[in-house]
Assembly symmetry: D2
Homo-oligomer: 137 residues x 4
């Protein structure tokens, strides 16, 4: 759960009006959109253009597991920072660990686990070497 | 703008918590989701299974124009009714006209215009005969 | 994880076009919307009108933890069934356990944990007696 | 429809995976989220902090009319630019005109009309002087 010496990225997002609900806070489902954008930028930073990866590799990295704890709510127009690192990477699984921050306040903690599938059939396959290289320590 | 003698359908939807924003009302973008579901049901009622249409016809009906007027807001947990009919159908365009009702109160009025494209290239083509039959008067 | 003798509800949802992504399957974030609607119906079935609960009780039940495993993808226009029951209820927490089914195929399994807060401040408080009665065994 | 000498802003957005649908393009409803973010930035650029405006002014600027034409589809990971200017501003209405660009390609054109309401009742009121100053020519 601690990024330690691992490569981490920080992705900034501004909370939109549509991201809120009638409780006046960001809806819990919205964070999955923020985290997805942060993962795409993580991969880009580490040499993987995910769009090309899907097209040229005829592969995809679908989410197979989500775990998220919500500690403090975010509100409209706040600037948040998504800290992302790879918690676990094996031939079968790639787990991104994420913390959403508002300044020094920790809002959510999560682990998002991806598998690798061959497209368009969707059959499970091993993580390709370029993913292992980009996401390993 | 009046459904007159045309075939209309009525589709019911219950407003979800996620559909609201911090103003305590349904966000204006949410209605496009409701209207899309209502169009799929309109087509089903008139003999078109839109999923099969896309797969077997190698075609799609993308939205090319949206016009919507918002008169009254909807709120969480309300049951709404989407009245849908075909306002215009030609070989190039199919325009669905929709009213969102809460009981006898008219909340929104809209016209959603679709074109027909060949997939996966996305090139424009004429409306297929089955659409003309299903959506004509 | 097994509903056993507990009260369960089954909520049906039809997959919308907007619910899909370019991989041709339901986006992982979409299920949180389905599950939320299923929880509102669970509460209604067991005597709690959640809208009234928020207004009259000056309280809310925000999501504080999400855990979801995705086993099989859902696709456009499929009819899904959300099986929902209360896995754990204490004075501090209410955990809904959910399975999303397509016929006899299990698509996702999840546990969604809610806390109870006083509104509009958002301070944590004990689960009200009516929630304990409605959601206890 | 032409921004002419008026003040315009350009807001950049990167298309997310969740923004796409199974046709492989950005879903038509997604643009309303992009445009909303662009309007908030337009207002900020011209001296209005919309969050403060809502809280301190006990007012809101709800969308009362949407008109959008979709000319070309956007795809995952593309960088888009939202050109925004005020097309019409009166004491009753504020109309934002927007073009979504991918480089030199025009993807959508739209007009989004806002009214001003007193919150929390939602009663219509005149545009406040600070809005007229910020959004007038």
């Amino acid at each position: 759960m601690s990024p330690g010496e691992k490569k981490t990225t920080r992705y900034r997002v501004r909370v939109g009006y549509v991201d809120t609900d009638q409780a006046g806070v960001v809806h819990h489902s919205t964070y999955l959109r923020y985290l997805e954008a942060a993962r795409v930028e993580y991969l880009r930073t580490h040499g993987i253009d995910y769009k090309k990866f899907e097209i040229e590799g005829r592969s995809a990295l679908p989410v197979v597991e989500v775990a998220m704890r919500y500690k403090l709510p975010a509100r409209f127009d706040e600037e948040l920072e998504i800290e992302t690192w790879v918690g676990v990477v094996t031939r079968a699984r790639l787990r991104f660990d994420c913390r959403v921050w508002r300044g020094t306040e920790l809002l959510t903690e999560s682990e998002i686990t991806l598998a690798c599938v061959r497209m368009p059939e969707g059959a499970l396959q091993s993580m390709p070497p370029e993913i292992l290289r980009a996401c390993g320590e």
